[in-house]
């Protein structure tokens, strides 16, 4: 920075970081521009996007700001809840109900002078390609698989081989209790989020017949209240799991059922946990994973040291166990693979059964898929006229509509990609 201090800076402010930026280390790539050049890029030119201003997001924003990133954007669609305060350290009780992105941005700008944080209170899906194109890299601290798949596919689609700057490194963190992971995704180059979908834990789903006929656990009674009783009793009111009155209703209905079947253990906390699918979350795990993400962002932005290739997994329940490995790209990944996915199904299967499989299969998990072949429409979820016209196909056998080895294209409105299946029969 040639001796000039930017607004809000003071001499020796970056004494710690500059020890890294002034000199290469033994493992530093030769492309590292030690000294003023890298500092100028980091502090004056680099623009980063943070997705999520929650448990990971608060930590990410603070780390990036202290690391010297000065132009930070943050997107979050949530407002602050009291249960966030045990870890989302930029929020105070007086902030409950306010948008996370706004409060977090304000806090960071007050605490770390000279850093500009631009918040957006809304959904990532509201933004277009031109918006995402402006950033050097994207750091993600999300709790939703759906949102991760969306941003991942969007950044892969953004890559133009003739335009190197169109490749936006995506750094993704996630935590659950004492466990977490951080990973670096170079869209189209390394394994993407979709490539690793099958690594996700399967959500606990209770069979409907257990819930309806043979409840054994308190969870079964709670599911009965929320899945079967709520829609039956409140025909036109949607269940709002953030509304204490709704939770209260479910709790009393579940308790009554538990009493009838001599099942113990229905509590308010369990009711809330089951219907909201609450994942335990603590400050410390979020701090570790967010630090790892920001450390990678810093190394990528500065080339001061090699960055993670490409997956860091942490389990903190028994000692500190971590595993760093390279997750492999999937050739048949619907987002970055290019090859179609081979799917063997029973010759007798109906289209409806195939759709069920697409929803459930661990490496696919597409909610509300629409199906077509190059020559015909098999089933479309929308618009209503098309849905109606293709609905009779649901009962037909797939083998009547698709030849052996035939291609089926699967789309879903929630995901910006097409999955191409090659069907064969057993």
């Amino acid at each position: 920075m040639n001796g000039h201090l930017a607004a809000g800076d003071w001499d020796d402010r970056y004494h710690h970081i500059d020890q890294i930026l002034n000199n290469p280390g033994p493992r530093t790539d030769p492309s590292f521009m030690a000294g003023d050049e890298v500092k100028d890029f980091l502090r004056n030119k680099c623009k980063v996007l943070v997705i999520g201003a929650g448990g990971l997001g608060c930590e990410i924003l603070a780390n990036l700001a202290l690391s010297g990133f000065k132009d930070i954007h943050v997107i979050d669609m949530d407002t602050i809840d009291i249960s966030n305060l045990n870890r989302q350290f930029l929020f105070r009780p007086k902030d409950v109900g306010k948008p996370k992105a706004l409060v977090a941005a304000e806090f960071i700008m007050n605490r770390v002078p000279g850093v500009k944080v631009t918040p957006y209170y809304g959904k990532i899906q509201d933004k277009d390609d031109a918006y995402y194109m402006q950033f050097t890299l994207v750091v993600c601290g999300l709790d939703s698989v759906e949102a991760r798949r969306w941003i991942n596919a969007t950044l892969v689609n953004l890559v133009d081989p003739d335009l190197p700057e169109s490749l936006k490194p995506l750094i993704d963190g996630g935590t659950e209790g004492f466990k977490g992971q951080a990973r670096v995704i170079l869209p189209t180059v390394s394994s993407c989020y979709e490539c690793s979908l099958e690594m996700l834990n399967k959500p606990t789903a209770f069979p409907i017949c257990t819930i309806a006929n043979t409840p054994r656990l308190p969870e079964h009674c709670i599911e009965w209240a929320s899945v079967l009783e709520w829609p039956r009793v409140h025909t036109d009111k949607k269940l709002d799991t953030d509304d204490p009155e709704h939770i209260g209703w479910l709790f009393s209905v579940a308790s009554a059922r538990a009493k009838e079947f001599n099942i113990e253990g229905v509590t308010w906390s369990l009711t809330q946990g089951v219907v909201k699918n609450i994942i335990p979350a603590i400050a410390s795990t979020n701090a570790i994973i967010a630090a790892s993400c920001c450390n990678e962002a810093f190394k990528i932005a500065t080339s001061s040291a090699a960055f993670l290739n490409n997956y860091f997994m942490l389990i903190g329940t028994e000692g500190v166990y971590s595993y760093t490995f390279e997750h492999e790209k999937r050739k048949d990944c619907p987002v970055c693979g290019g090859e179609s996915l081979d799917l063997k199904i029973n010759k007798e299967w109906t289209v409806d059964r195939l759709i069920e499989l697409l929803v459930e299969k661990q490496d696919i998990q597409i909610k509300k898929p629409s199906l077509s072949t190059p020559t015909k429409q098999i089933y479309f979820q929308a618009p209503p006229q098309l849905e109606e016209a293709t609905r009779p196909n649901l009962e037909k056998k797939v083998s009547e509509l698709v030849d052996e080895g035939g291609e089926v294209t699967v789309t879903a409105s929630s995901l910006p990609f097409n999955l191409s299946l090659r069907i064969s029969y057993i």
């Binding site: 003071w10 004494h15 970081i17 603070a62 045990n86 099942i263």
Partner: protein, 533 residues
């Protein structure tokens, strides 16, 4: 049931039966991990943190948020311009020149109103030089030190190793992308490690009511609905009994026998959609797996472990050791089951409500019987010992998972150079990085210039001339020479999470802390454990 008893139950459960209060709501996401008992332990803890560095305040942030009782931040230095640049818990430029601990204090306290905090502007050296200061340090429940000078660190670790009940000490060192930490403790007794392993269901040695149920179950006389709902526990007990009859009282041992046993279980299925038999086949592994081992070897090993003794002091883990010795008596009692006390919690299984509830009741009742037997033994063996009944219940409930860790004084590992050398040969980067941090500590304490060569020289002189250094040592040495005093924000945040996490485990006595050194490299993004006793 007496009137008072029913009132107690009502009071105890009323909290669970209505919308939670604000405190429970605030801590909801963590209470699901360590429950009210863990929270209570956190709230009664007093933590001393030495220095208000970026790493130290990061650690404290992650302890104040979940709600420890009290913290003291000790630092006699003034905020330098570089501190104001890398520490989130200083107020930027305006903090420069003021005391570091005092400046950080309000910004940490505002994270959680229910946490008490204090800034002390003395130096560690000053405290360690007086008896009063030493006593004051020992009054905390945990002491955490970041990048403390070598001499002071040695004094401190000696001080906190004197007595069994001295607070554990966490030593944290970092430079640039590299770091390590060590927890010095005498003993950590863990009743709730939250392990995933399944406790025994007594399938190979059923208690009387369970055996009776199995004996009275005749598959051929059940109607199709009943047949499809026999719990897997009953199916496996019957199958094991059948097998024993045909194999001189033995259970399946070889791979082939296990396969045959599974096939036999599956052959009992009369209709393809009977999920209970499928489940029984899948759960057959319990019979020969660790789950049905009469007394797991790790637990047995604890029986012969002498408790630590210290002159003029009662061991704070006295109760745990009494419970262990009672457990030994329990499993060796010829009148008893010859096994660990029965679990009262049943996993879910494919069956109807009535059978499940009935089975659950049987387990609960028999677990009550064995629990009473255990308590009688405890009372007989330790008639004068005062012990929290909740602890006894928790011990019995978690008896399949209990853990005990014995620690060592900080630096003990390095006194055995051969052990270090041997570990270096197969954990080059972990040991190498640790030794490089040792060398750095030494050089900094002598105010010497830190160069890669000097660091290597130091490592070599420690290991002796005949040792060939793996290349990772050079890589680590170059890194500390590059940034010998850098407390990087991301490294600080990473350690802040790790050390807070380990502190929570130590304080709550839940989950299992690291024993030995945990080494961290944030260039290649790995962590490793070395030097465990």
């Amino acid at each position: 049931m007496s009137v008072t008893e029913s009132q107690d139950i009502e009071q105890a459960t009323s909290a669970m039966h209505s919308a939670p209060d604000n405190k429970t709501r605030r801590y909801d996401r963590q209470l699901r991990l360590w429950a009210a008992s863990g929270q209570a332990a956190l709230e009664s803890s007093r933590i001393l943190v030495l220095s208000a560095s970026a790493t130290s305040t990061s650690i404290l942030k992650n302890l104040v948020l979940p709600g420890i009782g009290h913290f003291t931040l000790l630092d006699d230095e003034q905020v330098k311009p570089s501190d104001a640049g890398n520490n989130f818990f200083l107020d930027g430029f305006s903090s420069i020149g003021k005391n570091r601990a005092q400046e950080a204090l309000p910004l940490l306290k505002e994270l959680n109103d229910s946490v008490d905090g204090e800034a002390v502007t003395k130096s560690v050296k000053e405290l360690l030089s007086t008896d009063e200061g030493k006593k004051w340090i020992k009054g905390f429940s945990l002491v955490i030190a970041h990048n403390l000078k070598k001499g002071e660190l040695e004094q401190l670790s000696n001080l906190l190793w004197e007595d069994l009940n001295d607070p554990p000490l966490i030593v944290v060192r970092s430079a640039g992308f590299l770091a390590d930490f060590y927890i010095q403790f005498h003993e950590q007794c863990i009743i709730e490690p939250h392990s995933d392993t399944a406790p025994s269901l007594r399938i190979t040695k059923p208690f009387p009511a369970l055996q009776k149920w199995a004996d009275e179950t005749d598959f051929s006389k059940l109607d199709p609905t009943e047949h499809a709902h026999v719990p897997f526990v009953i199916i496996l007990i019957k199958a094991a009994d059948h097998w024993r009859k045909e194999h001189n009282g033995d259970l399946p041992k070889t791979y082939d026998e296990k396969k045959q046993f599974k096939a036999y279980v599956r052959s009992l299925q009369t209709k393809i959609d009977e999920e209970n038999f499928e489940e029984a086949e899948a759960q057959a592994v319990r019979i020969w797996g660790a789950a049905e081992t009469p007394v797991p070897s790790e637990v047995k090993a604890l029986f012969s472990l002498p408790s630590l003794t210290s002159p003029n002091q009662t061991d704070s883990n006295e109760a745990f050791h009494a419970l262990l010795q009672t457990l030994k008596k329990f499993v060796e009692d010829p009148e008893g089951p010859g096994r660990l006390p029965l679990t009262s919690t049943l996993p879910d299984m494919k069956t109807d409500t009535e059978s499940y509830v009935k089975l659950q009741k049987l387990y609960r009742e028999w677990s009550g019987v064995e629990s009473a037997r255990f308590k009688t033994l405890l009372q007989q063996t330790y008639p004068t010992l005062e012990i929290d009944p909740a602890m006894v219940d928790s011990f019995i409930k978690n008896v399949h998972h209990i853990r005990l860790l014995r620690g060592r004084k900080y630096g003990t590992w390095e006194t055995n150079v051969d052990s270090v050398k041997e570990t270096l040969s197969y954990m080059g980067k972990e040991v190498g990085t640790h030794l490089v941090l040792n060398a750095l500590e030494e050089l900094l304490s002598k105010d010497e210039e830190v160069t890669s060569e000097k660091v290597i020289e130091h490592v070599k002189s420690f290991l002796g001339p005949d040792v060939e250094l793996p290349e990772e040592v050079e890589a680590a040495a170059g890194e500390v020479a590059r940034a010998p005093t850098a407390d990087l924000p991301n490294t600080a945040a990473f350690l802040g999470g790790m050390i807070a996490q380990e502190s929570i485990k130590i304080i709550t006595k839940q989950y299992v802390p690291v024993n030995g050194y945990c080494v961290v490299d944030l260039i290649d993004s790995w962590t490793g454990n070395i030097g465990a006793p």
